[in-house]
Symmetry: C2
Subunit: 221 residues, 2 copies
């Protein structure tokens, strides 16, 4: 019989800082994983690895993300606030391990594109650099940010103003097949996973058993 | 050669509403997936399906989540604001398809526990119901919420005050092995995925190639 841990606030306070950070970063569930592309005031390109991107709304299309306190390097936040535009680029299996390397604290005058062997790509929709190696990517325009007084983090929201994606990943109802795209997910700060499709279900209604919509959409594609 | 779509704001505005919702909900990446357990003023238990949980901090341990505008049923939010406590319960493969069914709009006097065949479980740490079928779960205490004026959504933050988890899922550095736990991830509102482990990497440092820490942690366990 497996031992069941019951960890309450008083126990949490006694955990060593690093253990605590690793535990809570991985406890919350699988997370989105993306590289954020920006440019600084000197024109040097920056890449940041983010796992806190959250869907805020579809109309207008808004995504939020959490920035950690001032005590850590925050080139990405500074660049977004200065230039408004940033890119969100999905991470695929063939971008590892260099996508993880982009989380290292490089000096200000070094571009993570060079250090991690990624290539910049531009579109007329914004001045932020896309990552060519990513096959699903978005140009974002800054909309607002809110400080979180509980711990000094910042919740920043941007609007999707451009999406670049192969048509074969988009099903006829608009569903983006991230598994087909090879988009990865992350647990904690350093554990990378690919996915296995289980099922898609129709909109749930009381009293009606969940209906798979997988076969229908396969047949129609 | 695959056709690459370039979708800009002017195209997005022309998309049919349902296509647009499906597209943007699935575009942002794989998401955390959990059932939120609450109780209403009449003592009726409620389950909500959420895919917007985001890590806000480890000290204190904080998780945020997005609630959609007032126009949709929001029992979960009302219950949290009234009673402070709520539970976050991971969703595993054997909880499908009923975990999806919990997203149906049941009448106020019906408990999703009964309607979806989940069992309630309680601990002394809070009045909110845990879901027995989930093997990784947390008691949350409400801390704050912030309206997002851009679209009327609400960003709510709670503190983890209790964690219930089998010890075999927690590695010696504190890393929670969600793959071993069978925790699922979701894309969009209705597509469920399990995961395949790729690798864990050591903390990244400039000039040093990413080092796998998978074998080390396997050997030490």
């Amino acid at each position: 019989m497996d031992n069941i841990l019951n960890i309450r606030t008083e126990h949490m306070k006694e955990l060593p800082e690093r253990y605590r950070a690793t535990f809570f970063n991985s406890l919350s569930g699988f997370k989105s994983l993306a590289l954020i592309g920006t440019k600084n005031a000197d024109g040097i390109s920056n890449i940041g690895v983010f796992n806190s991107i959250v869907h805020v709304g579809a109309n207008p299309p808004l995504l939020g993300m959490i920035f950690r306190p001032e005590t850590v390097r925050r080139h990405t936040l500074e660049n977004i606030l200065a230039h408004e535009y940033y890119t969100i680029n999905h991470i695929h299996h063939n971008m590892l391990p260099m996508a993880h390397q982009a989380s290292a604290k490089f000096d200000d005058d070094i571009s993570e594109f060079d250090a991690c062997n990624f290539n910049e790509e531009y579109s007329p929709s914004g001045m932020a650099p896309y990552i060519r190696e990513s096959s699903v990517k978005m140009m974002m325009k800054y909309r607002m940010h809110m400080p979180i007084p509980l711990n000094g983090t910042i919740f920043l929201i941007g609007e999707i103003v451009e999406v670049i994606i192969p048509s074969s990943y988009v099903q006829e109802d608009g569903f983006v097949d991230l598994h087909k795209a090879g988009t990865l997910t992350v647990s904690g700060l350093d554990a990378y996973f690919s996915t296995e499709f289980i099922d898609r279900y129709a909109y749930a209604r009381p009293g009606i058993n969940p209906q798979s919509i997988f076969h229908r959409s396969e047949q129609s594609s």
